[in-house]
């Protein structure tokens, strides 16, 4: 018999909780791919992570990693967590408070059955590789949120894992630190050869880091596909809400942001400077058949690319020079009688600005 080598993570996870909550989700993460598990609080995202890691037993299901069976309820197979070869950045990072940064990394390095002393020496090299050697002798309580996250990531990768799990890796950071850390994280994710599963409740993070997005709601997968796919065909109200959020990157200077549209967008924050991430909620965008007048808004001329009505609402995609998704009432959509040319207006105050 020839063994079939399957790469990546394949997991079907069923976990019941006493409170009547039931997680029943299937997820596939190919090698060299970042799948983002996106969902509201309480959807079962963290349960999914701990179940894949082996810390929560499955009620049903099967998990394979690189063709290795980690869990198979039907066959009675269950690999202990330390033998799964999984690297994880946990929610709240969970650095061991009594160990130094070097001690934390050395702990994970010992997976390769190294002696304590050799693991310590290797931890120094590893921290240097991450540019964190200056923190080696500090205890976690002395680290900033961003430093703790970086150490958490270094620790997760130290054990040469076959799978990388990241549970809300940016949530502990203040807004200013997120952009920087997200870029760093993207770099490390790209350098990791195995499957990468990242969990977040923040759609902006999801769209920026994901190759594929899986939406988890109330214990069940409601959508799986590329970020674009999710934007075009959201299947639940929650997904639609996520999908519609318009994300733009650009460079801010004195209240104006260059987003590559040929004209700058006016924002309410005059102090933002440098790379920024803009989010515009679809309901904050209005569409007009004639040039609107009055208040200081961002207004530009464009064309409707596609539109669909769902009940009371219409989702309208507008095209170049700045493709966006807008949500207007179905009534407004009919009244406008938009066929082609239109004007888009966005209040400066409705544009959320975050450091890129």
């Amino acid at each position: 018999m020839v063994a079939i080598l399957v790469s990546g993570l394949e997991a079907r996870v069923v976990v019941r909780r006493g409170s009547g909550f039931r997680l029943d989700a299937e997820i596939t993460v190919p090698d060299r791919t970042t799948v983002v598990l996106l969902g509201p609080n309480g959807a079962g995202k963290s349960t999914m992570v701990w179940a894949i890691a082996g810390a929560i037993p499955l009620d049903e299901g099967r998990i394979t990693l690189g063709g290795r069976v980690l869990d198979d309820r039907a066959a009675g197979i269950r690999v202990e967590p330390p033998n799964r070869r999984i690297g994880a950045v946990f929610q709240d990072v969970l650095l061991f408070p009594h160990l130094t940064v070097a001690g934390n990394v050395a702990y994970a390095l010992r997976r390769g059955c190294r002696s304590e002393r050799r693991a310590r020496a290797a931890a120094g090299d590893w921290l240097e590789h991450f540019g964190l050697e200056r923190l080696a002798h500090l205890h976690p309580a002395r680290l900033s949120g961003g430093e703790a996250q970086q150490v958490g990531l270094a620790r997760a990768l130290a054990g040469e894992p076959d799978l990388l799990l990241l549970d809300e890796p940016l949530s502990a950071l203040d807004v200013a630190a997120r952009g920087h850390f997200r870029r760093m994280l993207a770099g490390h994710l790209a350098g990791f050869e195995g499957p990468r599963l990242l969990i977040t409740h923040d759609p902006a993070e999801a769209f920026l880091l994901a190759d594929r997005v899986v939406v988890l709601e109330d214990g069940a997968v409601t959508h799986a596909g590329s970020p674009d796919d999710l934007r075009r065909h959201p299947e639940t109200a929650y997904a639609a809400d996520l999908a519609g959020v318009n994300l733009l990157t650009g460079t801010a200077r004195s209240g104006l942001v260059d987003v590559g549209a040929g004209f700058p967008l006016r924002i309410a924050d005059d102090d933002a400077d440098g790379p920024v991430l803009l989010t515009i909620h679809p309901r904050a965008i209005s569409i007009h058949a004639r040039p609107p007048e009055g208040s200081p808004r961002n207004v530009w001329r464009t064309a409707v690319r596609s539109a669909e009505t769902a009940g009371e609402h219409a989702r309208v995609q507008v095209g170049d020079p700045l493709p966006l998704t807008a949500e207007i009432t179905a009534g407004a959509f009919r009244e406008l009688g938009i066929t082609g040319e239109c004007w888009v207006a966005v209040e400066a105050a409705e544009i959320t600005v975050r450091p890129g």
Partner: protein
């Protein structure tokens, strides 16, 4: 809430509180007033006192070691393992905290005495006898002291965020390594407090010791037993040894000050 001060307690409450304070302060003052300060050095170096000090120190330390070795695993099982009858087991383990020590000593005698349930076959087979020996003192001390360590450590284990241990496991640590490198260090301060508390309790043990191990000077006579005997014959020795016990107890309280109150 800052700046908001509760009212001064009513007069009757104050009076009762002062009376309560007197209940604790008067004996201490009485002891200090009768202390033969000029002779205390020579009294404490006398044969009865030195024997008692030596035996007390050795047996209480040994009992603290036994309490640690058995109490931590017990606390771990009680805190982490759900099994039927767990509260019954916990009650059994904590019983010596409320049981009159004399009763505990008698029970130990019926278990490990020469005619005891376990003691008899062990004696017949090996000739070893626990009661009326130094090891008997250690067993009696451990019997009354271990529950204090179990209570403290179990509370600490329950308060420990289980995600740290799960993280330690996911990151490659086997059960033993997680216990040794994560669990134990994280509850370390509570273990320290529990050991200190168990040791202090062992040091002051009287009832179970005298019942199970007897009162033989130089073999099983610990400080509390020596104090009791000396009260009849050699008051100065009794007072001097009492002062040593008071000093040790106060020192333990100071060290435990915050930790013990909080863990309750």
């Amino acid at each position: 809430m800052t700046g908001l001060r509760p009212d001064r307690p009513p007069g009757a409450v104050m009076a009762a509180a002062l009376l309560g304070l007197a209940l604790f302060a008067a004996p201490l003052v009485g002891l200090l007033a009768r202390t033969p300060w000029s002779r205390i050095g020579s009294v404490l170096t006398g044969p009865v006192a030195t024997d008692a000090l030596r035996i007390s120190l050795l047996t209480s330390l040994a009992a603290a070691a036994v309490a640690t070795a058995l109490g931590i695993p017990l606390a771990w099982v009680l805190a982490r393992w759900e099994f039927p009858g767990r509260s019954l087991v916990r009650g059994l383990v904590l019983l010596p905290m409320v049981l009159p020590p004399v009763v505990g000593g008698a029970a130990l005698l019926y278990a490990f005495g020469r005619r005891g349930l376990i003691g008899e076959p062990v004696y017949d087979a090996t000739g070893l006898l626990l009661p009326f020996s130094g090891w008997g003192v250690v067993v009696a001390n451990a019997f009354v002291a271990t529950p204090f360590l179990v209570v403290t450590v179990e509370a600490a284990l329950r308060n420990l965020d289980p995600r740290f241990e799960a993280a330690g496991s996911v990151l490659g640590g086997g059960r033993w390594r997680v216990f040794r490198r994560i669990t134990l260090p994280m509850i370390g301060p509570s273990v320290g407090a529990g050991v200190l508390l168990a040791w202090a309790r062992a040091l002051g043990e009287f009832g179970a010791t005298v019942t199970f191990a007897g009162n033989l000077q130089g073999r099983t006579q610990t400080m509390p037993l020596a104090v009791f005997v000396a009260l009849e014959q050699d008051r100065d020795t009794a007072i001097a040894l009492s002062l040593v016990l008071v000093a040790v107890s106060l020192a333990v309280l100071v060290v435990l000050r915050d930790r013990w109150w909080r863990s309750w």
